[in-house]
């Protein structure tokens, strides 16, 4: 199969299979992620979507922004739904009723992935369906109005865990979904960011060439929930990478590889400062929060580097 080089010049000659006219908020980080994922595929793609912003905004009434076969069923079952589609594909292919090579992708937000869809995702990964699950991670239930999820970062102010006078926002760390998925022993798990579009698309391309279950967690800033500007989704996703808050790495057949190492690891506050959800952490009495957040990032980054090193050796 002819492959499109990962240059924007060449990619822009391809048809974008998520159209204009969708109703995601101005400056949302999710549509560029979906656009990059679909552009990276050299194969026809069939997708499932968990209930959430991406789903409600891209398929309302008679208006669908999808130019690929697409299904939304419920919030917590995108993985099981695409597993059903993929299984029917295998059945019909075995029976000689279909001969095309088709790839299967599920999209879910962090609520639909880390939380309510976790079991469905874990089951689908364990069963070995030939599918790629993509979590677009904006760190809260943004569609219902910015409620805390297990992907919400430490300290963040959300509508269900607001920065109050007694409890200053979310006091727990994010669930490390990518490593949990890698621990399923699946052939490929990775983290990506739309700021690093080439890295993201390379990972999607690689994932689609691997048979079996694949998982990618992709950061997708939400200016409403993060209380940031409408123009900084890409900038913030870049800062998430450069501060090592959201490191870009992949775990391929158990081997960890950091795919983008920041030239200079920026302080976490560079990522936190432009976001209103962390504003209270900059108050003098909450200094400990900034310190703890930075320590957590440092610890995780060091751990990841150790894992990558160990993979190099072995």
């Amino acid at each position: 199969m002819a492959t499109t080089p990962l240059t924007l010049r060449e990619l822009s000659k391809k048809e974008v299979l998520l159209t204009a006219g969708h109703r995601m908020c101005s400056g949302c980080g999710a549509p560029p992620v979906v656009k990059m994922v679909l552009l990276a595929s050299e194969y026809p793609v069939v997708a499932a979507n968990a209930t959430g912003c991406l789903e409600v905004c891209t398929c309302i009434s008679e208006y669908t922004a999808w130019k690929i076969p697409w299904i939304h069923s419920a919030f917590e079952n995108a993985a099981a739904t695409i597993a059903g589609v993929e299984t029917m594909y295998r059945s019909l292919k075995k029976q000689g009723k279909i001969d095309k090579e088709i790839k299967f992708i599920a999209f879910g937000g962090d609520g639909g992935t880390y939380d309510i869809g976790f079991q469905s995702l874990s089951g689908a990964m364990e069963r070995g369906h030939d599918m790629l699950y993509i979590c677009y991670d904006n760190g809260a239930y943004m569609n219902t109005g910015i409620q805390r999820s297990s992907a919400t970062p430490f300290g963040a102010d959300t509508t269900t865990c607001p920065a109050g006078s007694v409890v200053p926002g979310k006091l727990q760390k994010r669930k490390d979904i990518t490593k949990i998925m890698a621990a399923h022993g699946i052939p490929y798990a990775a983290q990506a960011s739309p700021s690093h579009w080439q890295d993201l698309m390379k990972k999607v391309k690689k994932a689609l060439e691997i048979k079996g279950p694949k998982f990618m967690n992709i950061i997708a800033p939400c200016n409403r929930g993060w209380r940031s500007a409408t123009d900084d989704a890409i900038l913030l996703s870049r800062l998430a990478v450069e501060t090592c808050y959201f490191p870009l790495y992949e775990v391929e057949n158990g081997a960890t590889k950091i795919t983008v190492t920041p030239r200079e690891k920026k302080p976490l506050v560079d990522f936190l400062k432009p976001q209103g959800r962390f504003k209270h952490m900059f108050a003098p009495e909450n200094e400990w929060m900034l310190k703890q957040a930075q320590e957590d990032v440092d610890k995780e980054w060091e751990k990841l580097q150790r894992e990558a090193k160990a993979s190099e050796v072995s």
Binding site: R9, S12, G27, C28, C59, T64, A65, W197, T230
Partner: protein, 97 residues
């Protein structure tokens, strides 16, 4: 547009016209308008890949005009635009001014 009656809706609410969202114009959401200054454009295509609204035309590997019918005016393109010699190729202008 005349709303359909129950006998006319598609069984199971399946949408059979792919990409029909293009019939829905989101340009009216915009309060700031991106303006392309071609002379400062190096055709890096960052604006095209980062645009959340698929509102930048691409032809023969080069960026074309803004599709103002869809552009919501977020300004990502202008912020990410590297421009030429320190001069941006995309600037945001307030609508109605």
């Amino acid at each position: 547009m005349k709303l359909k009656g129950w006998k006319e809706v598609t069984p199971g609410a399946v949408v059979t016209k792919a990409g029909s969202a293009e019939e829905f114009k989101t340009g009216s959401w915009r309060s700031f308008r991106p303006v392309w200054l071609e002379e400062n454009c190096i055709q890096c295509m960052f604006c095209w890949i980062f645009c959340p609204d698929m509102a930048i035309e691409a032809k023969n590997g080069k960026r074309g005009v803004f599709k103002y019918d869809y552009c919501k005016g977020c300004g990502i393109c202008a912020l990410e635009c590297p421009g030429k010699k320190g001069k941006k190729a995309i600037v945001m202008e307030e609508e109605g001014k």
